[in-house]
Amino acid sequence: MAASETAAAIALTRLGLGARAGEIDRVRPDPKGWALAQIRPDGAPQPSGGFPSSNQRMNELLDYQDMDRGAPGAQNAPRTQGTQPATGESDPDAQARLMARRAARRKLAESRDAEFLARAQLGTATDHGFAERWALFWSNAITVSSTKFNAGIFIGQYEREAIRPHVFGKFEDMALAAEQHPAMLFYLDQVRSIGPDSQVGGRRRNVGLNENLAREMMELHTVGADSGYGQADVTQLAQALTGWSVPMARDLATDGRRQAGNALERGPNGFVFRPDVHEPGERVVMGKTYPPTGLAQGQAILRDLAQHPATATRLARSIAAHFVADDPPLALVARLERTWMASGGDLAEVARSLVEADETWSPQPTKVKTPYEFIVSTHRALGTRPDRLPALRSALTDMGQPMFEPPSPEGWPDAAADWAGPNALVKRLNWAKRTGEMAQVGDPTALADGALGARLTAPTRLAVSRAESRAEALTLFLMSPEFQRR
């Protein structure tokens, strides 16, 4: 176990989002305790801002989609581009509708971006850095990306409703909330998936099964590609998941337009189950048979996937690789896996196990910070916070981690090679230089001491204290190996 000097710094920098001035001193008496105290049944902290719920967002989305539909009575008319007139309307009306649509879309995008800013501000201000890092990890482990617009406008809600409350509960509960969230259902095209033999599937041509959610659920969210399942299992799961969807405009109508006899089952956060697109019949996934129980069928499969030993193995490794080292110590992975299996996937227990492990406290910084971690920890070190969205957006985009926009369902990668490539470092250096020039600080050496404590090496400290200007001192500090890594 490292000396308590270093342990306090490690707690804040490796397990948290970096130290603010004076924080290392406060944590020093009990660094492990600092982390453990953040493991709470009500989950991780929530960003403030009074943002809309998923239900409200869904209404806004439906209103926006309504704008596409042209004149009343043309609900099912195909979307028209540009100014092609419909039902005799003149061009100026079409133009006005186009402008209104654009404004509505922009408003949705701004709300999404505001959520990101609020989350970044939470990161720079929080005393619960470990709980925040833990929440960010899980939000990335079960990824939703803004590469799809409809998914993007639910990401803030996704993190607040499906991830944060569950990060210290049972993994299977978090997985269920995540997979049923509108953000996920849009992102992985589940809303379009229709069972070929379902009521709707039987009637319509050119609609069918979409396997995206099923595939990623198995490959990226739970058991992983090496756990012995095949394509048939993916298809079976996809069939079981049909009906997992979100409201459409007609679901909200109260004038008898609903499907007769099929009242929609509603879940939290705007989830609805559509029996009319659900593939009937029993399903077999990874050797187990699931009777035809409608919504409960897919849920049962998901719970079994969540509880599968391969899930424990895979996610134990992910946790160790994210927090401790790209190539994590086998003993640490094994320890986390054991705790996972013994507790039935209790994430509070797994988090405790991570904090208690010796490997977590090894002094050598190994992991390279992601751009987000770099920017947030810089603000914490400088005592500032991001409050200009364009600046935050361009900094993150420049460094390769655009807001809410991982390139694929795999989420943001985690290894040094992904973030510390030649151009990435140049981008970081340019940002660090501008930040150093703009910062208003007293003594850069004291600032470096406050941010890294015993993890600040003698050569870096010397270089900072001897810099020829404050700007240079801060740039050196921000780009030092011990600040680039955690």
């Binding site: 030649p422 140049v426 250096l429 340019n430 230089k433 501008r434 850069p444 020829e468 200007s469």
Partner: protein, 392 residues
């Protein structure tokens, strides 16, 4: 452009409110074109002994060893000024200005307090106080306030407004590119820190090399050297015309020459020379109403150290250039480098308070009166730092 407009509106509103005039100094009733002042802050402790070379001082060559600049006429020798002083050979353009009587120098100036930390000393240089943390704003901004009746416009060059221009008077700002280059000082300092981190070292070097390829000048000359000239021209463009700025502050980095001083200074001074040349060229007929001041926070040791460089010292040089200057000799006395004359037996001893030169320029060129200078712009400086006469 909109930022400049905003500042003009603010300044006019400020002046018309009348409150400023209660403590502003009396100002010359300028109705025509405005006088221009450019303050270049050399950050890192510029080596005055290499800028205004005291080649005739009997102790100079021995103290400086291999770092000594040869006498005028020799290979790489100083460019002769007067009274045994010469300019560093890289300052060719400035030397030309001297011949025209448009360049002055003060060979042994310093701040009113002895500080060896770059950051703290730069603060005092910029805040114009008698010591550390005495003012939260900058003397140049206070001078703008004092000259408020004439609606002078302030401009800072750089990403953030330096302390010297911070304060009640609104100031606009502009920053060129800002990209780090492979031959920048910061790049080599980082490589030192990355000595035990091969991945970061290699990747940063590689990344910067690629950037270099992307921006290399078409005719093969390194873009770096041309940058100073373009910067000077760019700044002058911001100073000319109806909305042009009048009081400008520019930060110049890279003067902390602890090792390998010869080459580093050659590059830096070359850039400084080009910057001033660019200003002169771009200002055109406004040059005759312009004063450029080059100042640094402290000087460097009289003796060379063990790594062909020098360490933090005390007295350094100030340079003045511009069409508004009066011809004249060295500003302030030369204490010599004789044994017993060095400050703490290591540094050039200062004979003139740096504020005196600033005050002389502000009084005679910008029209800020003595009372305002002594009490508002440089509080507490009345006795210790009387303004230098006859500069402008």
């Amino acid at each position: 452009m909109s930022r400049l407009d905003l500042n003009r509106r603010n300044l006019l509103a400020f002046a018309s409110a009348g409150a400023a005039l209660a403590f502003a100094g009396r100002v010359s009733a300028e109705t025509g074109p405005r006088n221009k002042l450019v303050v270049l802050i050399a950050r890192g402790a510029m080596d005055g002994l290499s800028v205004t070379v005291p080649y005739a001082d009997p102790n100079y060559a021995a103290l400086r060893g291999s770092l000594a600049i040869p006498v005028p006429g020799q290979d790489g020798g100083a460019l002769a000024l007067t009274e045994g002083f010469g300019l560093h050979p890289a300052l060719a353009n400035l030397h030309g200005l001297y011949s025209q009587g448009r360049m002055r120098f003060a060979p042994a100036v310093a701040l009113p307090v002895r500080i060896r930390s770059h950051f703290d000393a730069q603060d005092v240089l910029e805040n114009g106080g008698e010591g550390l943390r005495q003012q939260a704003d900058g003397w140049l901004n206070r001078a703008l306030v004092a000259a408020g009746g004439t609606s002078l416009k302030g401009l800072s060059i750089g990403v953030q407004t330096p302390l010297i221009l911070r304060g009640d008077a609104p100031v606009s700002s502009w920053a060129p590119g800002g990209q780090v280059r492979g031959d920048d000082r910061i790049a080599s300092l980082l490589q030192d820190l990355y000595a035990n981190d091969p991945m970061l070292a290699q990747n940063l070097a590689s990344g910067l090399a690629t950037e270099e390829l992307a921006v290399m000048g078409g005719d093969g000359t390194p873009v770096r050297r041309n940058d100073a000239l373009s910067l000077g021209r760019a700044v002058s463009r911001l100073m000319t015309g109806q909305d042009g700025s009048d009081i400008v502050a520019v930060s110049l980095d890279g003067w902390d020459t602890h090792a390998g001083q010869k080459n580093q200074l050659q590059t830096r001074l070359s850039g400084l020379d080009q910057l001033i040349a660019g200003l002169q060229e771009g200002l055109g007929d406004q040059w005759r109403r312009t004063v450029v001041v080059v100042a640094t926070e402290f000087g460097r040791t009289a003796r060379a150290n063990g790594t062909q460089g020098t360490d933090h010292g005390t007295g350094s040089s100030m340079l003045l250039a511009g069409g508004a200057l009066k011809r004249g000799g060295p500003i302030g006395d030369w204490p010599t480098l004789a044994e017993g004359k060095l400050f703490e037996d290591r540094d050039l001893a200062p004979t003139l308070d740096i504020r005196s030169v600033f005050k002389g320029v502000l009084r005679d060129h910008i029209g800020v009166d003595r009372a305002a200078l002594d009490n508002r712009v440089f509080p507490g400086s009345a006795a210790e730092a009387p303004p230098v006469d006859g500069l402008v």
